[in-house]
C-alpha cells in the first residue's frame, strides 16, 4: 500500500468482541467485517448506522482505543499497528463521547480542560495558554472556575470539546456527541465544530443519528451489520433509495421533495439535493406534473376530543430556592381524556419539575392539580390521595433503562404490582399483557434485564409502569438516544397506547417529534406556559409561531419556503393547514396546487 500523508486509510478492518451466550458459553461476535474507508485531511465525514451496527467501534479503532483483529489503519502516513506510532496517533486524534458526565475528569472546568495536555507533558505557561484558548474557542471561558458538575448538559459537552481542543489534535472524533443535547445546544455545538474545523483545518469524523447533522458533512459512510452499506456525498447517499433499509431516515427537506416526486411520478437527481434552493427548483419543475397527478384522499382522522378533562393544573408554581427563582411559574393546563398531550421546551425550562408534580413526587407549593380518574376526584396536594394518584398517573423518566434492577424481566415488570400487594395469581396476566403491549416476547420474561439491548431495556422499563394500568401515562423524552428506526417504533407504541384509551403526556425538547405525534402541544419557556394548541393551529401562521419564539419543526420550515415560492408563482393558491409528516404534507401541497391551477384555468 502506498503511504499517503494526507489521508486516514482504513483498510479491510475486522473486529470481534467477546459475547457470551445466555448459557455462559464463550462466543465471539463480529462488530466490523472487512471495512475500508478513506478520509482526506481536513474533511468532514459522518458515519451513520443503526444502534449496534459497529460505527462506534470504527471510531475507536481510528484512535487506537480498540485494536482490529485484521486489517490496517494508517493515519497521515503512520501505521496504527506499529507500537512506536501509538502515542503519536492518540495525540493527533481527540474524541468527544456521548455522555458528558462520563468524560469529565476534573472537578473544576479549567482543571478538566487541562487534563489532556497535562498528560502530554505540556509545560507551563504554554499549558495555561492552551487551556484558556480552548475555553475561549468554545465560549465557556467565563465559566473556567465553576464546578463542572454545576454546568448544564450543553455546557458540559462544550467543556468536553474544549478538553479535546486543548490537546491540539488534527482529527476530532465525535461519537454521538450531540445525542443527549436539546436542539438549541446541538446547533451551538455543531457551530463550534464547524468553526474550529475551518480555523484549525481539523479533520472531523462524526458518528450520529441526526440526519440534519449528517447533511452538513462532505462524505457519509453508512455502516450496517458491521459492513459499509452505502458511502458517498450526502446527496448520493440520501438519493440511493437504500437509506431506509439501513434503519436511517431522510432529512425532512429531502423527504418532502421525495414525497412530492412520488405523487408526481418524477425522479429526483442527486444534484437536486445540493441545497434548499436546488430543492425548491426541483419542486417548481414538478408543478406541471402536480396538476395531472392523482392525490390519494387523506383519511380524515380528526381527533374527537370529547372535552372530558382528566387532569387539570391550576396556578401551579414551584421554586427550589425559597421563591427567588421559579422552576415553574403559574402553570394552568387542562389535559383531555384520550389525547396525546405534548409538553415541549428546552432543557432546564421546567418540564421535568412540572411532570414530577403529576404523580405527587413533588407536592404543589402553590396551586393545585386535580385528577378525574376512575377512583374519583384526586388532588395532588392531599396526602391521602397520594397512593391513588401514583396508580392513576404512571411516570416514565428519561433513560428508564438505567433503573432496572431485578434478576428477571418478569420480576422487574411486576415490581409495581408487588408494591400494590396484588396477589401472584393476578400478576402474571397483567405482566404478560403489559409486555405484549410493549412488544416484549414472552421468552424474554425469564431473562435478566441486563442481557437485553438498549431498546429492549427501555421497553421493559416502560412495561414496568404500564403494568399498573395507569389512566394517564407521562413519558419524559421516550425517544432520546434511539436510532431513527427505534424512534419510529417508540412512537408507534405510543399511538397504540392512545388507541387503547390511555391518555399520554409526552415531554420532549424536540418540536418535530411533538408536532408529529401529539394532538395538542403546550410550549414552555422559563417555567411559564407560552401557548397550548393543536400543532396545525400552532404552525398555520408562520409569523405568529416565530414571534412567540417557538422552535419550528424542520419539515414545516422547509415546507413554508416551498409554499411561499409556490404562492408567488401560482395565483390563488390556498394551502390547508400544515401536516407534520412528509407524505401527508406533500399530498396537501400537491392538492392545493392542483385546485389553484384548475381554478385559474
Amino acid at each position: 500500500m502506498k503511504v499517503e500523508l494526507d489521508k486516514i486509510t482504513v483498510d479491510k478492518v475486522s473486529f470481534s468482541y467477546r459475547s457470551d451466550d445466555t448459557d455462559g458459553n464463550a462466543g465471539m461476535k463480529k462488530a466490523l467485517n472487512s471495512v475500508s474507508a478513506e478520509i482526506e485531511r481536513g474533511s468532514y465525514v459522518a458515519i451513520l448506522g443503526p444502534n449496534g451496527s459497529g460505527k462506534s467501534t470504527l471510531a475507536k479503532i481510528i484512535d487506537i482505543l480498540e485494536l482490529p483483529d485484521e486489517g490496517r489503519v494508517v493515519i497521515f502516513g503512520k501505521d496504527a499497528g506499529e507500537d512506536e506510532n501509538f502515542w503519536d496517533i492518540r495525540k493527533k486524534c481527540a474524541c468527544v463521547f456521548q455522555n458528558p458526565d462520563n468524560q469529565i475528569v476534573g472537578t473544576i472546568v479549567e482543571e478538566d480542560t487541562a487534563f489532556g495536555p497535562e498528560n502530554l507533558g505540556v509545560p507551563n505557561p504554554e499549558l495555561r495558554h492552551r487551556v484558556e484558548e480552548a475555553l475561549k474557542d468554545v465560549g465557556i471561558y467565563e465559566l473556567r472556575e465553576r464546578e463542572a458538575a454545576s454546568l448544564s448538559g450543553g455546557q458540559k459537552q462544550k467543556l468536553a470539546i474544549a478538553g479535546a481542543l486543548a490537546m491540539h489534535p488534527d482529527v476530532l472524533i465525535l461519537d454521538e456527541a450531540t445525542a443527549m443535547l436539546d436542539p438549541v445546544s446541538r446547533d451551538e455545538f455543531l457551530e463550534i465544530v464547524e468553526r474550529q474545523r475551518k480555523e484549525k483545518s481539523l479533520t472531523i469524523i462524526t458518528i450520529t443519528h441526526d440526519m440534519t447533522e449528517a447533511i452538513r458533512c462532505e462524505k457519509i459512510y453508512v455502516i450496517n451489520k458491521g459492513e459499509i452499506a452505502i458511502s458517498g456525498s450526502p446527496q448520493e447517499v440520501f438519493s440511493s433509495g437504500r437509506v431506509g433499509s439501513c434503519g436511517l431516515k431522510q432529512p425532512e427537506n429531502y423527504a418532502l421533495c421525495y414525497q412530492i416526486a412520488r405523487i408526481c411520478g418524477e425522479e429526483i437527481l442527486p444534484a437536486d439535493l445540493a441545497s434548499d434552493d436546488t430543492l425548491l427548483e426541483c419542486v417548481m419543475r414538478m408543478v406541471p406534473r402536480m396538476v395531472s397527478s392523482f392525490v390519494p384522499a387523506e383519511d380524515s382522522a380528526v381527533t374527537d376530543l370529547s372535552g372530558e378533562v382528566i387532569l387539570s393544573i391550576k396556578h401551579l408554581s414551584c421554586s427550589y430556592d425559597g421563591g427567588q427563582n421559579k422552576a415553574i411559574d403559574d402553570v394552568n393546563l387542562d389535559v383531555y381524556r384520550g389525547e396525546v398531550f405534548g409538553i415541549v421546551g428546552r432543557s432546564g425550562c421546567g418540564k421535568t419539575t412540572l411532570v414530577s408534580h403529576l404523580n405527587a413526587i413533588l407536592a404543589p407549593q402553590s396551586g393545585e392539580i386535580i385528577i378525574h380518574g376512575k377512583d374519583g376526584i384526586l388532588s395532588a396536594g392531599e396526602r391521602k390521595d397520594k397512593a391513588k394518584i401514583r396508580r392513576t398517573v404512571g411516570l416514565v423518566f428519561q433513560y428508564p433503562e438505567y433503573q432496572l434492577f431485578e434478576e428477571t424481566v418478569y420480576k422487574d415488570i411486576s415490581y409495581g404490582l408487588r408494591n400494590l400487594k396484588i396477589p401472584e395469581t393476578e400478576r402474571r396476566a397483567k405482566v404478560e399483557a403489559a409486555a405484549g403491549l410493549m412488544g416484549i416476547d414472552a421468552e424474554i420474561l425469564g431473562k435478566s434485564p441486563f442481557e437485553l439491548s438498549g431498546g429492549q431495556k427501555r421497553r421493559v422499563a416502560m412495561a414496568g409502569v404500564l403494568v399498573m394500568e395507569p389512566e394517564i401515562l407521562v413519558l419524559d423524552e421516550p425517544a432520546s438516544g434511539l436510532d431513527p428506526k427505534g424512534r419510529d417504533e417508540m412512537f408507534r407504541l405510543i399511538a397504540k397506547l392512545r388507541d387503547n384509551g390511555t391518555t399520554v403526556i409526552l415531554v420532549s425538547h424536540n418540536m418535530d417529534e411533538a408536532a408529529q405525534n401529539c394532538d395538542r402541544i403546550c410550549a414552555i419557556k422559563d417555567g411559564r406556559v407560552q401557548v397550548v394548541a393543536a400543532p396545525a393551529e400552532l404552525f398555520a401562521d408562520r409569523g405568529k409561531a416565530e414571534s412567540m419564539g417557538l422552535d419550528i419543526p424542520k419539515l414545516t420550515q422547509f415546507s413554508n419556503r416551498v409554499k411561499e415560492k409556490l404562492g408567488r408563482e401560482i395565483a390563488n393558491v390556498n394551502f390547508s393547514e400544515p401536516a407534520f409528516e412528509s407524505a401527508s404534507e406533500a399530498a396537501r401541497i400537491v392538492l392545493a396546487v392542483k385546485k389553484a391551477v384548475k381554478g385559474n384555468a
Binding site: 474524541c95 472537578t107 473544576i108 489532556g116 499549558l127 463542572a148 490537546m167
Partner: protein
C-alpha cells in the same frame, strides 16, 4: 431529596484559605484532628471554637454553608450525646429519676464527645473539602506521600482514584435521586414499613446505581485513554503546587495556635 448533602462539595470563593497550598492545609488538618481529640477542658473548647470561627472567616464560609455541612451529622452527634449521658455513671449525680441517673461528669463527657464529632466535620470541611478542589487534595496527598513511591506504592494512582471518586459524588447523588423518584412512582415506599422492608427498598436503589457506576467507570476509562492518560510519569500540572512565604506563615500561625490550645488544655487539667 438528596440535594442538600454538602459533604465533600467544593465551595468556590476567593479567600486566604482557598489560596493556601493544599499540603499545608492537609498537615494542619491532621494537627487539628489530634488537637480535637486531646483537649477536654471547657476553656480549651472555647478557644477551639474561636480558632474554628477564625478559620471559617478566613475561608469566607457563610453560616448557611456551615450549617448545611454540619446538619447531616447532627442526628449522629445527638445519638452519641444521649448514649453517653445515660451510660456514664462516674461523677456526682445531678438528676435522678427511677433508673435514670445523670452525673455532672457524664454530662460533660457526653457534650464533649458530641462536640468533637461536630468539630471533626467542620475542620474537614473548612481545611479540606470546602476550600480545596478534589484534584488539589489528591495532588497534595500525592506530593506528601511521594517518598512511598520508592517502595513501589502506587501513590499517583491512589490519588487519582480518590479525586475521581470525589468528582463523581454529585453525579451519583443526583442519579440516586432519580432512581428513587422512579421507584416511588412505581409504588415504592422508603419511609414506612418494617426495618427489613426498608433495607430491601434501598437494595433496589443500589443495584441500578452499581450497574450504572460500572458503565460510567468503563466510559470514563475510555475517555481518559483517549485523552492520553498514562499514569503519573511525565505529567505536567496546570496549577503546580508551590509553597509561598504566605503558606508558611499560615501554617506556622495555625500550628502555633494548635500547640497553644493543647498546652492550655493540659495545664488546666
Amino acid at each position: 431529596m438528596l440535594n442538600d448533602i454538602s459533604i465533600g462539595r467544593y465551595y468556590r470563593k476567593d479567600s486566604i484559605l482557598h489560596g493556601t497550598d493544599p499540603r499545608v492545609k492537609a498537615i494542619l488538618y491532621i494537627v487539628y484532628l489530634v488537637a480535637i481529640f486531646i483537649i477536654r477542658t471547657p476553656v480549651a473548647l472555647a478557644v477551639l471554637t474561636a480558632v474554628t470561627l477564625l478559620q471559617a472567616v478566613m475561608a469566607k464560609i457563610t453560616p448557611r454553608i456551615m450549617w448545611l455541612t454540619v446538619k447531616p451529622v447532627l442526628p449522629i452527634a445527638m445519638f452519641i450525646l444521649l448514649i453517653n449521658i445515660f451510660t456514664i455513671r462516674q461523677g456526682n449525680p445531678v438528676f435522678t429519676w427511677r433508673i435514670i441517673r445523670i452525673t455532672d461528669y457524664g454530662a460533660m463527657r457526653a457534650v464533649l464527645t458530641a462536640l468533637r464529632l461536630v468539630f471533626l466535620i467542620i475542620s474537614t470541611s473548612i481545611l479540606l473539602t470546602l476550600t480545596t478542589t478534589p484534584l488539589k487534595i489528591s495532588d497534595a496527598l500525592e506530593s506528601i506521600f511521594a517518598p512511598l513511591k520508592a517502595i513501589h506504592i502506587p501513590v499517583h494512582e491512589m490519588a487519582m482514584m480518590m479525586s475521581i471518586a470525589l468528582r463523581f459524588i454529585p453525579t451519583l447523588v443526583s442519579e440516586t435521586d432519580k432512581i428513587m423518584k422512579a421507584q416511588i412512582s412505581r409504588g415504592a415506599d422508603y419511609d414506612t414499613g418494617s426495618f427489613v422492608s426498608r433495607v430491601r427498598g434501598y437494595i433496589t436503589v443500589l443495584i441500578p446505581l452499581f450497574v450504572s457506576s460500572f458503565k460510567r467507570a468503563e466510559e470514563l476509562a475510555v475517555a481518559m485513554d483517549a485523552r492520553c492518560y498514562h499514569g503519573g510519569d511525565g505529567r505536567t500540572k496546570l496549577n503546580p503546587l508551590k509553597i509561598t512565604s504566605r503558606d508558611v506563615l499560615i501554617g506556622l500561625f495555625y500550628g502555633i495556635l494548635a500547640i497553644g490550645l493543647v498546652v492550655t488544655d493540659l495545664s488546666l487539667r
